[in-house]
Symmetry: C2
Subunit: 209 residues, 2 copies
Amino acid sequence: MTDGPAVAGGARRRGRPSRTDSVEGPGARERILTAARAEFAARGYEKASIRGIAKAADVDPALVHHYYGTKEQVFEAAVEMSFAPALNAPEAVLDGGLDGVGERMTRFVLGVWENPVTREPLLAIVRSALTNDVAAAVFRKLVVRQLLRRIAGELAVPDAELRAELAAAQLVGTALMRYVIKLEPLASADPERIIARVAPVVQQHLTGS
Amino acid sequence: MTDGPAVAGGARRRGRPSRTDSVEGPGARERILTAARAEFAARGYEKASIRGIAKAADVDPALVHHYYGTKEQVFEAAVEMSFAPALNAPEAVLDGGLDGVGERMTRFVLGVWENPVTREPLLAIVRSALTNDVAAAVFRKLVVRQLLRRIAGELAVPDAELRAELAAAQLVGTALMRYVIKLEPLASADPERIIARVAPVVQQHLTGS
């Protein structure tokens, strides 16, 4: 699929969609997904609408359904897009074995949250998941199964999945308290200070006795 | 102040509020606070309105402002009411000293979340705080300062406040993953199994080297 930056600025005329990609312009599919991600990030799952996504992508709402299905499926595709960089995380975190896996996992998660470009879509997903059951199901399916199960699979301990989830609870909780609730001194603390305190705890969850 | 269950059912005529409590009926102040808590719990901080609270309490919106001030101040009063049982938590958690403080804190927090009666208002507050900056500020002020600072004050360690916040991050993260996102196996795990894994981590945060 080619991207169509030349037509992505909304210069085309609006109207009923044709059935062919060529009339919608190249890249309509990608434009819809980008617009969906922005709409869900800005308004959350509940308030976001297919109509709003279609308008931002400069297509007819029917085309959004044609490519992606229901609102839930559009959300799932947008979450998958946001999480694409993180889907390699298990390999990055597990590379080097279980020694130091706690620190690598902590550094990876804090790195994603520390960067506003990767933080904003992630925050939108977490907020949607915490306030809407459909979004929570998507979060469980994509994030948890794809990330945590793969990490748990490498742990040669009983309760591996529960351990991975409790490690994730520490990391998600820390991110929410630091970047959203903005507790002090946590919100202003140097990331290395946080890693020094959190990494051993994550390691204990994953491999401790 | 007396409670007024006899007039709380909405039997009074609506109209402009008088300046006196007696015309509004006894317990108008309490009715407003109860209605505010229900409204914020059901709709979240952003969608909740003074008008909706007034309607549920069967008073004029002006009376809500008269007693509690701005929407933010009404929210603060409602959060304070929800947290009243938890405000004794630091004493309960710290009684018995620092040995076992991790387990007592973990049991206390899981106990509050395990009971639907105490979970629902707490969840409403956390959701509001995670999606609205004004609500986040109220959460910081009441919950964190009143609970975490008092626990931190008993810890004879450097970084006591950061430690208390990271312990809270583990507990809040665990509660959100278990009761809201409903990750499995965490969501269905016996509370004692969770306490066995989380309490040592909370203890390490609070008193570990």
